[in-house]
C-alpha cells in the first residue's frame, strides 16, 4: 500500500532546533502533516488524542524519555502497532539493543543526513 503523504507524523525532541530540522526534512520529502512535542509525556497525550501514522522520537528527554514513551506505546492496546523511529545521540550497542527489544521499528544516530532519514522512513513505511 502506498504511503499516505498526508498522514499525521509526530516528532518528539526537547531541542527545538532538532524539531525544526526533522520537520523541514520531512516536508522536503513530501510529508504535509507534522506535529511536534518536546517530551515523552506531551507526546503520549498527543498520541492518545489523534491518530498518527508515525512517531519519530529522541531518547533523552524529561519528563518521560523516548525509550519510556516507546515502552508505553508498545504496551498500549490501541497504540501498540504505531511505527516508531528513534532518532538519538545515544549510540551505544546496549541502547540500540534495548530499543529493539522494546519494539522500535528503526534507529537513527544523530547527527544524521536527509538521505539516512529517507532510507529509514522507507524501511518502516514502505516506498514513497
Amino acid at each position: 500500500m502506498a504511503v499516505q503523504m498526508n498522514m499525521p507524523i509526530l516528532i518528539v525532541d526537547d531541542y527545538r532546533t532538532m524539531l525544526r530540522i526533522v520537520r523541514n526534512l520531512l516536508s522536503k520529502l513530501g510529508f504535509t502533516d507534522i506535529d511536534e512535542a518536546a517530551d515523552g509525556e506531551t507526546a503520549l497525550a498527543m498520541l492518545k488524542s489523534r491518530e498518527y501514522g508515525l512517531v519519530i522520537s529522541d531518547w533523552n528527554m524529561q519528563p518521560m524519555t523516548g525509550f519510556e514513551l516507546l515502552k508505553v506505546v508498545r504496551a498500549d492496546a490501541v497504540l501498540k502497532t504505531m511505527p516508531f523511529i528513534m532518532v538519538t545521540a545515544e549510540s551505544k550497542v546496549e541502547n540500540v539493543q534495548a530499543a529493539r527489544q522494546a519494539g522500535v521499528n528503526n534507529y537513527i544516530i544523530k547527527p544524521f543526513s536527509a538521505a539516512v532519514l529517507k532510507a529509514k522512513l522507507k524501511a518502516v513505511l514502505g516506498e514513497f
Partner: protein, 172 residues
C-alpha cells in the same frame, strides 16, 4: 606560685594546645581522605575535557558545512532557474543537516556541567572541612542508576559509539 610551678603549668598548657592542634590536623586529614574521589580525576575530568574537544570539532565542522553550502549558492549560475532552484534546495538541506550540531553539543555541554557541579560540591566539602566544621555531611552514596537511566549517556566520543551502518545491520 613558684617559678617551677609556673613553668610546669605553661608546659602543660602548651602540650595541651599541641595535642589539640594534632587532633585538628588528624580530623582534617581524615575528612580530606574521605573527600578523595579518584573517579573525579580519572573519569569525570578527562571525560569533560574530551567532551569540550568534541564540541570544538563539531562546531567547526558544522560551520564549515554551512559556509560551503552558502558558497555553493553564491556561485550558482542563475541563467538556468530550475537547476539553480534545485541546487538552492539541496544546499538548504545541507544547512539543516549541519545545524543538528546544536543538539549534540547541547548534550555534551550538559555532561560538562554535571562534572563542574561535582567539582563544586567537592570544593564546598573541602571548605567545610577546613573551616573546622568537622561536620562534613556523610558522603552520599550514589544511587545505583535505574536500568533505563543507565542507558542515558548522551553523545558518544570518537571510538566509543557505533556507526549507523552497524545499526542498519541490526535492523536489516
Amino acid at each position: 606560685m613558684s617559678s617551677n610551678e609556673e613553668n610546669s603549668a605553661r608546659i602543660k598548657k602548651l602540650t595541651q594546645e599541641c595535642v589539640d592542634i594534632v587532633r585538628t590536623i588528624l580530623v582534617a586529614r581524615r575528612e580530606m581522605g574521605r573527600l578523595h574521589d579518584p573517579e573525579l580525576r580519572q573519569v569525570h575530568l578527562p571525560r569533560a575535557s574530551e567532551e569540550i574537544g568534541a564540541i570544538l570539532t563539531m562546531t567547526e565542522s558544522a560551520t564549515n558545512d554551512i559556509m560551503l553550502a552558502a558558497e555553493d549558492m553564491m556561485a550558482l549560475d542563475l541563467s538556468e532557474p530550475d537547476f539553480a532552484a534545485e541546487q538552492v534546495n539541496n544546499a538548504c538541506m545541507r544547512i539543516f543537516e549541519a545545524c543538528s550540531f546544536q543538539d549534540i553539543t547541547g548534550q555534551r555541554i550538559a555532561n560538562v556541567l554535571k562534572t563542574l557541579q561535582l567539582v563544586e560540591s567537592k570544593i564546598e566539602e573541602l571548605e567545610n572541612a577546613f573551616s573546622g566544621a568537622a561536620s562534613v555531611e556523610p558522603e552520599v552514596v550514589a544511587e545505583k542508576p535505574h536500568s533505563d537511566a543507565a542507558l542515558l549517556n548522551g553523545p558518544a566520543l570518537e571510538g566509543e559509539g557505533i556507526e549507523q551502518d552497524f545499526v542498519d545491520q541490526l535492523f536489516a
